[in-house]
């Protein structure tokens, strides 16, 4: 459904995406992860056809998304700054959506709105930050577009609503499978929901793999310095920390035999992503040396 080859996007002189290549063929929920300012939103906007690529190419349903009606009709991008005509109430917005999105789940949208306690008589501009996010997400979900792009959908929502909204996404996804790409700072929160991880780092795709594979990618080993150090020579080390008497390291998991005396532990996907994208060979501790 989505193909990117050497996709590049510059804003003036600053290069946001330098070489992004990946391919998504079937409906699934994908977590788009990356540090601040790495270009997650930019990538989503390119896919939605809101931005024009400066190099390489991006294709959605076999078409270049920029200015393509077929792509616009089947891709929805939900973001913070999404705006609706101020003359409409929420109710009118939802009623009108059906004209543009034939699959629009009007009833579901009204039910969800009622559930989260937002009056349909409100105007979009009057909503609080959290309510805006909830409404936008409901709107995006209800469009049932084959490609649903959610850029930081949970920003500003409180804990309880977040949990409900994740559940809503899952339920609707099960009922109507489609490609959902969700970007977030909080990978941990949505780890259970996603199938694949798309990790952006320094303008390229650092990693595009199933969640389970990511979880298996690294190991945390803790033990005596003399036991650990020889191990580190054989594998890629993401991180090491010596806080005598303990020596801790995060290493690549490539089937290396770990002596039983060394405590080893696999990491959660979000930790793996954190280490994959941490600045090269250094930690915050180095600053305080």
């Amino acid at each position: 459904m989505i193909q990117c080859e050497e996709l590049e996007k510059r804003y003036g002189k600053s290069n946001v995406l330098t070489n992004v290549s990946f391919q998504i063929e079937e409906p699934k929920i994908i977590g788009l992860i990356g540090r601040n300012g790495v270009g997650k939103s930019t990538l989503l906007k390119l896919v939605a056809g809101h931005l024009k690529e400066t190099g390489g190419n991006v294709q959605v349903f076999g078409k270049r998304p920029f200015n393509a009606l077929h792509v616009a009709a089947n891709v929805i991008l939900i973001e913070d700054k999404m705006s609706f005509p101020p003359i409409f109430t929420l109710k009118e917005i939802l009623l009108h959506a059906k004209r543009f999105y034939p699959n629009f789940a009007t009833e579901l949208a009204f039910d969800l709105l009622l559930y989260v306690g937002i009056s349909e008589k409100n105007e979009h501009m009057q909503l609080s930050k959290g309510q805006t996010a909830v409404f936008n997400l409901i709107y995006g979900l209800a469009t049932r577009c084959a490609v649903t792009l959610l850029d930081e959908p949970m920003n500003g929502m409180d804990e309880a609503v977040r949990a409900d909204m994740y559940r809503a996404i899952l339920k609707d996804y099960i009922a109507f499978p489609r490609l959902i790409i969700m970007s977030s700072h909080y990978l941990q929160e949505m780890e259970h929901l996603i199938e694949d991880i798309l990790l952006l780092h320094e303008g390229v795709v650092e990693l595009y793999a199933p969640l389970e594979e990511v979880q298996q990618m690294a190991l945390r080993i803790v033990g005596q310095k003399e036991e650990i150090e020889p191990l580190l020579e054989k594998v890629h080390v993401f991180y090491k920390r010596e806080q005598s008497p303990l020596f801790e390291a995060i290493i690549e998991n490539n089937g290396l035999e770990i002596p039983a005396s060394v405590k080893s532990q696999s990491l959660s996907a979000s930790e793996v992503c954190k280490y994959l994208t941490s600045s090269k060979e250094g930690t915050i501790d180095d600053i305080f040396k």
Binding site: L69, A72, A73, S83, F84, I87, F88, C145, F176
Partner: protein, 239 residues
Amino acid sequence: MTSLNNVSLAQNIWQQLLWKCRTFSSTFTTVLIVQIIFSVLSSGSGSSGGSYGSLLYNESIYSLDLLFIISIFSAIMLGWLLATQSIRNDNYSVVTTNFTETVSTLLFLVVLSIFTVFSALSSLYITVFTRLLFFDQVMVIKSALFEISTLFIFLIFVLIAGSASYFAKTLFDISKITFLLLTIVIIYSMQTGGISESTFFEFFLVQSMGEMLGKVLLVLTIFWGLTIAIRQRREVIRR
């Protein structure tokens, strides 16, 4: 897998046009209120008086002229407003592309112009009728009460004004320098080159209807074509 939506270009433009008639409904009321206020404030388009020997006369003229000028100004303002970024962004919460967005807005301008013409006509009838009811004075009907050719000319100038201003704002957004230079050139040539507003009117008001239609179509094609060409390339930036 949810099914893919198939939308044709014409369908999308039509849907957006209907949508815009609602989202921009305040433009209709703007035109209406401006027309009503000017109809109430002014007593007709003007008056002339004089004497002809022992015959002293005083004529109050109610014509479409004042409403026409007001409508032109409204169209210029609304055309400019319709091209603003925030309005464009609202558009991206429904299915749209640069092309369909621009074309549907231009078509909306046509709808707005047609509305403007008929509301001007209504305003004139209403003021005249109230005057007829409450003032006891000879009322002279100096032209046909309903004249297609007049309305058509009215429509065309309002539409051209709106389209030109929509184009101007588009140009302004993409390059303020070009816009400024163009404005200076136009003002300069109006000051010195003998070009005035009536030059524009005279350009269009030729005797043969066919020639006029040709000129109108040519001018609209230029404005619309350039507008579409420029806006085609724009990215969506929500702030």
